[in-house]
């Protein structure tokens, strides 16, 4: 059952004479209890989109539904009640720096009308949940980035929300800390049954915890589905660019001219299929040469995706027959243009930077 539904949601900003369409006609459905990811390059509109869910950003048009109820026009106490059901964590943690960790959490408890006498027990309980039992009296500045994010998770969970929104929540953290925070979020998702919507430009995050994923580009959702399917067989150029960048299936440009004649093919296969026998069988059967240029295997959850870049060469007829056989036996098959093989097919050259929030922040201001 869908806990969050976005119907034809658009968000437009006016900045002087300029009109910025940050989100365009987005339809999205998040099922109860899942971890739903939204990925895309910087400036794709992900931050704005996730903010429409708790109405930090009100859609210019379209509807936001929570458990089937239209909340798009909620105001005053109805709006605050909606927000209490939705926790939000941010890339930059956004804790109140001049008050202690405990008081940061109490802020949310107070907002949720939790009786004052229960505060200290609840703070202790929340800090225990995120593994920071002894830190109630510390100030945020004395904590590491990972610890601050744990505090912000505790604050977001203070009012027992059904949904947790994460805006690049691990993008300011190092690899190891990212893993810890993702582990914590996964535990929260499984043990507390909290639905998570997580936006990121880091595919590492996507492949580790997302059940479903939507790919965003210039305000549009260009592709969505199960994480493994989307990343295993990306259809849209943006998804392909993200995945290729991540899986790193590119040949150094200077190598391309020295490659022998033949067709370059990208094969994708599910981890459990062994490709070695297939390749040697095809090579033998059609008497073609198959050279492996690049290979990579990545795990998405429990499932693996392999990407193989091969150069197939031989007489025309044999080559065609060999390619057909390969095509019929793999999960993804794509002939690559020799000219473009040296570069990653990035659609645009947007860098995968962590500064996305800053950019979007400015466009919202």
């Amino acid at each position: 059952m869908a806990i969050i539904e976005l119907k034809d949601v658009s968000v437009t900003f006016h900045e002087g004479d300029r009109t910025i369409e940050a989100v365009r006609q987005v339809d999205l459905s998040v099922s109860k209890g899942e971890i739903f990811g939204i990925v895309g390059f910087s400036g794709a509109g992900k931050s704005t989109l996730v903010r429409t869910i708790n109405l930090l950003e009100r859609p210019t048009s379209g509807q936001v539904l929570l458990d089937g109820h239209d909340i798009t026009q909620a105001k005053g106490s109805a709006l605050r009640d909606v927000r209490k059901r939705i926790g939000f964590i941010f890339q930059s943690f956004n804790l109140i720096g001049n008050v202690s960790v405990g008081r940061n959490i109490e802020f949310a408890l107070k907002a949720g009308n939790c009786p004052k006498r229960e505060w200290s027990a609840r703070v202790a309980q929340l800090l225990a949940l995120v593994g920071l039992e002894s830190k109630a009296d510390s100030y945020p500045s004395s904590l590491s980035g990972g610890q601050q994010q744990r505090v912000s998770i505790a604050r977001a969970l203070a009012n027992n929300p059904e949904i947790l929104l994460c805006d690049e929540a691990t993008s300011a953290l190092d690899l190891e800390t990212t893993g810890e925070i993702l582990g914590l979020l996964q535990r929260i998702n499984r043990e507390l049954g909290i639905t998570i919507v997580f936006i990121t430009h880091q595919l590492d995050v996507a492949k580790q915890i997302f059940d479903h994923v939507a790919v965003m580009e210039e305000g549009h959702i260009v592709e969505q589905g199960e994480t493994f399917d989307i990343f295993g067989a990306p259809q849209h150029p943006t998804t392909r660019a993200l995945v290729e960048r991540y899986l790193g299936v590119a040949v150094p440009p200077q190598l391309v001219p020295s490659l022998p004649d033949g067709t370059i093919v990208e094969l994708r296969y599910k981890g459990e299929d062994a490709l070695e026998p297939l390749i040697s069988a095809v090579a033998r059967r059609y008497d073609v040469a198959i050279n492996v240029l690049h290979a990579n295997v990545e795990y998405f959850g429990a499932q693996a995706i392999g990407v193989l870049l091969v150069l197939v060469s031989g007489p025309d007829d044999a080559l065609r027959a060999a390619l057909e056989t390969l095509r019929s036996r793999v999960f993804g098959f794509r002939e690559l243009d020799r000219e473009s093989i040296g570069q990653v097919d990035a659609g645009d050259s947007a860098s995968l930077s962590a500064s996305e929030n800053d950019k979007e922040g400015k466009s919202r201001a």
């Binding site: 605050r80 939705i86 109140i96 001049n98």
Partner: protein, 219 residues
């Protein structure tokens, strides 16, 4: 020399009390009302609270209008107003009223800028908890703005000590009045020197106290 000591002995106590009275009253009124005006400017400008361009512009223009008058001129303009309010404008209370009217818009801008420094991400986080505007301002904006706010209060007190000398010269009393009457009109350089020293020490002490307090609330 004996004259100087006599003058100081008979007048300094009252002059200091008058100045302290005028500065204290106008600081309290300036900070309280100025903070309210600052909040009005702040919440009507912020898209997460109660954006209202018209109200923001109207209040902004009034604040700027009062602030655009040099205090010397504002003080003269206010003489009939003060007269209407309390009868005799040439008293410490008359001075305190003029100073308060100058202090409110001054502190309003100082406090508004302290509030505006609070990071917008933090506001988004606070709004996301479902807190009311009042809870956000008291629980998140104030604690974050407090260091700048205290520095603003110090700045205001020191400015008001300066302005209080000006109201002194037109007859409201206080340390400025004394400096002009004895130091300037009667060539009692000793009195002038004493007052200069007192002012320097006073301002230093206030600044130090403010800095110490600011450090305590910054984490």
């Amino acid at each position: 020399m004996n004259d100087t000591i006599d003058i100081l002995r008979t007048n300094l106590g009252k002059a200091l009390t008058d100045t302290a009275y005028m500065v204290a009253v106008s600081t309290v009124i300036g900070v309280v009302l100025g903070t309210l005006v600052a909040l009005l400017l702040y919440v009507t400008r912020n898209r997460l609270f109660l954006p209202n361009r018209t109200l923001n512009a109207v209040v902004g223009v009034i604040v700027n209008a009062i602030r655009s008058l040099p205090f010397l001129i504002l003080m003269v303009v206010l003489i009939p107003v003060v007269q209407l309010l309390i009868g005799d404008p040439y008293t410490p209370t008359g001075g305190a009223i003029s100073l308060s009217i100058a202090a409110v818009p001054f502190f309003a801008r100082v406090a508004e800028s302290a509030f505006s420094e609070v990071d917008s991400g933090l506001l988004e986080a606070a709004v996301s908890t479902g807190a009311t505007m009042r809870q956000i301002i008291v629980g998140a904006v104030f604690p974050q703005a407090l260091p700048s706010f205290i520095r603003g209060v110090v700045l205001t007190i020191i400015s008001l000590i300066g302005y209080s000398a000006m109201v002194g010269t037109i007859g409201a009393g206080g340390i400025g009045d004394m400096a002009i009457q004895y130091g300037y009109n009667r060539y009692e350089t000793g009195v002038l020197v004493a007052i200069v020293v007192i002012l320097i020490v006073l301002v230093q002490l206030i600044q130090w106290a403010g800095d110490a307090l600011t450090r305590r609330v910054t984490h």
